[in-house]
């Protein structure tokens, strides 16, 4: 995980230039790349993208706020994602989510004040045989119990301190 990169207009221009020339320049794919780069969509980036692509800012803003993948606020450096699909749910994901939420002191969708952790839920990862599933910074853990969630969190928190 890198530190929060600061917004750089030239980077976004490069991105847009690379995108041009395709058959269907896609607003959403541009937004996805910006989201991946900055872990959110900076306001200046939205304005720049709209102007460059000739898309009304209202539409860009609409898309940016409609889809779960986009965020207007920076996400934490560590993202913890709890699968709350049905299969995970009937195997106890609710308890796991509550445990993590209590320990971090944030609700799903929120980021801790120090910008370290974001807690998210996902509707289903399709890894139902392993439920409940928790994904911490892209690494999957299966068959998570309350106790296992605690251990997992301790590990991620310890790593966060050493960075």
């Amino acid at each position: 995980m890198s530190f929060q990169p600061t917004f750089d207009a030239s980077e976004i221009e490069d991105l847009l230039n690379g995108k041009r020339g395709g058959e269907h320049p896609s607003l959403m794919s541009v937004l996805e790349e910006v989201q991946a780069r900055y872990r959110y969509l900076p306001q200046d980036a939205l304005i720049l993208i709209s102007e460059s692509m000739g898309v009304p800012l209202s539409q860009t803003y609409g898309v940016a706020t409609f889809y779960n993948a986009f965020s207007l606020k920076p996400k934490g450096r560590h993202v913890i994602n709890v699968c709350t699909g049905t299969a995970c749910m009937v195997r106890g994901a609710k308890k796991v989510l509550e445990r993590i939420s209590d320990r971090l002191g944030i609700q799903p969708g929120e980021t801790t004040e120090d910008g370290q952790f974001t807690l998210e839920t996902v509707n289903c990862l399709g890894a139902c045989a392993l439920g409940p599933v928790v994904v911490a910074d892209g690494a999957y853990s299966g068959e998570v119990t309350g106790a296992k969630a605690n251990a997992l969190l301790s590990k991620v928190m310890a790593e966060a301190k050493t960075v």
């Binding site: 269907h24 959403m28 409609f66 289903c124 399709g126």
Partner: protein, 617 residues
């Protein structure tokens, strides 16, 4: 690389591939679907490479990293071919022994053998595993044999033969007729006849037409489509190319969930390879027919599984549905006639064309032909993907294939079709599964998510869970869905918190009927199904919550109490130390007590207690 320009060249390529591969050559097939990957299958493959390499056997023994075999519960799954020895839960440490004992000496390693939980029998060969035995694998048949990132593997098994037949032996109208006569129905949920859909789009006026593969598999607990795309992406592409030819489209899109990174990757590779082999792009198989296929990853909105919302999303707009008619067949993507089918439907098309409508329609029932893939999840011994002919019964799936419920618990119901579906209680497990019979029971086939609920599942909480899901995913465009589902959720939440009132059940039923009748799209129209069907089959559970303030499944926190049985408690202090609310007190070696005012009902003590002293009521 070979460019295939004619049916003869395809035939020659296949024969060359078959001739160059010795069926008796020993090889290791390792499942690399998402489930097995999480459990470490990529490390297992690497360990096999290293082990075989260091023994100088890299050329003699082949390694295939395949797509999902379906038996996710027992991953990582390894099958030795040609013997068919089946090993489950294989770790890196087992690899050296598998090579020295099984591959070189033909011996069976006892600890890696699968034990059938139902009978206790030890099963050595893949074909004898009960989980596979009762299935009929038509669409998933090659998942355990081919490397999904190598088009030649698919061609060696007769891949793209259906396409070749369609392009060179059939006129487009004939292809549509063949699909119509086969009885193939959409596998995405509603079961609309695929051939009829195609013919409407084919007959629609317009020079530019589109085809779309709906791979936005959003129902929680359903991952059939993911596994098809991960394990055999070329079959989906082949189906799409045949469909595009039949309809007269030259551009296609796959709208795929971004939560499925491996499926996206394998599909991208498949498209590139198909283009290189002349099976996609310009002048496909020398027929003069052109088609390009693009991938559009979704950005996490459940409503985009609805066809008009999906198309809005491809057009870079927010994914809101619009009223139909006009249907996409007349005015779809960018206002042009568009045909949308889901992944599993497209994957059936090459089979229909290659084997012919008569052979295909003999599988399944009169009204519902072919097979259906279900993802069997929840409280079940053998979690995984199950492909059965239409008309199979739930009891066959849950008990014969699924191996029953873990921990000898009782099965309560199966929830089908996710947030749009309903539940089927155990009494109806012998009803054949087809589109019509399920509808009569208040459930739907849906896309194929099948969640097994044991006695510890609270059906009211399950209904609340789905309503919460729908509420969050409602796009907010139409009032009944936006506000109606909120009203239903509030009532359900009240019931699960002990605030239920007389009349709540009737109110839910009334709201449900209204929302169904007046919502704009399928999401709202089906949103009440999980509630209405649990009320229909488990009304007593709702009543116990409301009248007695109890949750018999011990799920609803406000309605349960944790206490410690003084006779069983040894005073070990384990729960006392770990209680996050510091609600437990007691001297060492004396029975402990839970302070009900402090208890947050997290269940930690219950999980930790080794003496079964923690009681839930």
């Amino acid at each position: 690389m070979t460019i295939v320009r004619t049916p003869e060249e395809l035939e020659n390529l296949k024969e060359k591939l078959v001739a160059s591969s010795d069926p008796d050559r020993p090889r290791v097939s390792v499942c690399c679907g998402t489930g097995c990957r999480v459990l470490g299958s990529m490390d297992v493959i690497e360990a096999f490479r290293t082990e075989l390499g260091s023994r100088g056997l890299g050329n003699e023994i082949g390694i295939v990293g395949t797509g999902c075999h379906g038996f996710c519960e027992k991953g990582p799954v390894v099958v030795l071919k040609p013997s068919g020895i089946f090993y489950q839960r294989v770790g890196v440490d087992d690899v050296a022994e598998i090579v020295s004992e099984s591959l070189l000496n033909g011996a069976v390693i006892d600890r890696l053998i699968y034990v059938d939980p139902a009978s206790g029998a030890r099963v050595i060969y893949e074909e004898d595993v009960p989980f596979y035995q009762k299935q009929q694998r038509l669409v998933l048949d090659l998942n355990g044999d081919i490397d999904p990132t190598n088009i030649e593997d698919y061609i060696a098994f007769g891949g793209y033969y259906g396409l070749s037949k369609a392009l060179h032996q059939m006129r487009p109208e004939k292809v549509v007729e063949e699909v119509t006569q086969s009885g193939l129905r959409g596998r995405g949920g509603a079961g609309f006849p695929a051939g009829l859909k195609w013919s409407l789009c084919r007959e629609a006026k317009g020079d530019t037409k589109y085809i779309i593969c709906n791979a936005d598999e959003g129902d929680p607990g359903a991952y059939m489509d993911r596994s098809i795309m991960e394990g055999n992406p070329h079959r989906v592409l082949e189906g799409m190319i045949i469909g595009a030819y039949a309809i007269g489209a030259h551009e296609g899109y796959v709208y795929i969930r971004n939560e499925y990174p491996l499926a996206v990757e394998n599909l991208r590779i498949a498209i590139t390879q198909a283009e290189e082999y002349g099976l996609l792009g310009q002048n496909i198989l020398g027929s003069g027919f052109d088609l390009s296929i693009h991938i559009r990853p979704g950005s996490g909105a459940f409503v985009c599984g609805e066809e008009t919302a999906l198309m809005a999303s491809i057009e870079d707009r927010i994914g809101e549905p619009r009223p139909r008619p006009p249907y996409p067949a007349v005015s779809g993507l960018w206002g042009k006639p568009t045909n949308i089918n889901n992944v599993e439907t497209w994957a059936n098309v090459p089979i229909v064309i290659d084997r012919g409508r008569e052979a295909y329609s003999q599988i399944g029932t009169d009204q519902s032909t072919g097979t259906k893939i279900f993802s069997l999840v929840g409280n079940i011994n053998n979690t995984g993907l199950v492909e059965v002919p239409m008309g199979a019964t739930l009891s066959e799936i849950v008990y014969d294939i699924g191996g029953g419920i873990p921990a000898e618990k009782d099965c309560k119901a199966v929830q089908l079709g996710g947030p749009s579906g309903g539940c089927v209680p155990k009494e109806h497990f012998d009803v054949p599964i087809d589109y019509e019979s399920l509808q009569e029971l208040g459930a739907i086939m849906g896309s194929g998510g099948m969640v097994v609920c044991d006695e510890d599942t609270c059906m009211v909480e399950l209904a609340r869970f789905f309503m919460d899901f729908v509420q969050q995913e409602s796009c907010g465009k139409c009032v009944p869905c936006r506000l109606g589902t909120r009203a239903m959720l509030d009532v359900l939440t009240g019931i699960t918190r002990g605030l239920g009132q007389e009349g709540d059940i009737e109110y839910l039923e009334e709201l449900g009927r209204q929302i169904t009748a007046s919502s704009l799209c399928g999401l709202g129209q089906t949103a009440s199904n999980p509630v209405l069907s649990t009320i229909r089959h488990f009304r007593d559970e709702y009543e116990v919550h409301i009248r007695d303030g109890r949750c018999l499944a011990h799920v609803c926190k406000s309605l349960i109490l944790y206490s410690i049985d003084a006779e069983k408690c040894t005073g070990c202090g384990r729960c006392l130390r770990k209680c996050p609310a510091e609600a437990i007190s007691g001297a060492k070696k004396e029975p402990h007590v839970i302070d009900q005012d402090k208890c947050v009902k997290c269940g930690t003590c219950l999980e930790l207690c080794k003496f079964d002293a923690v009681v839930v009521e």
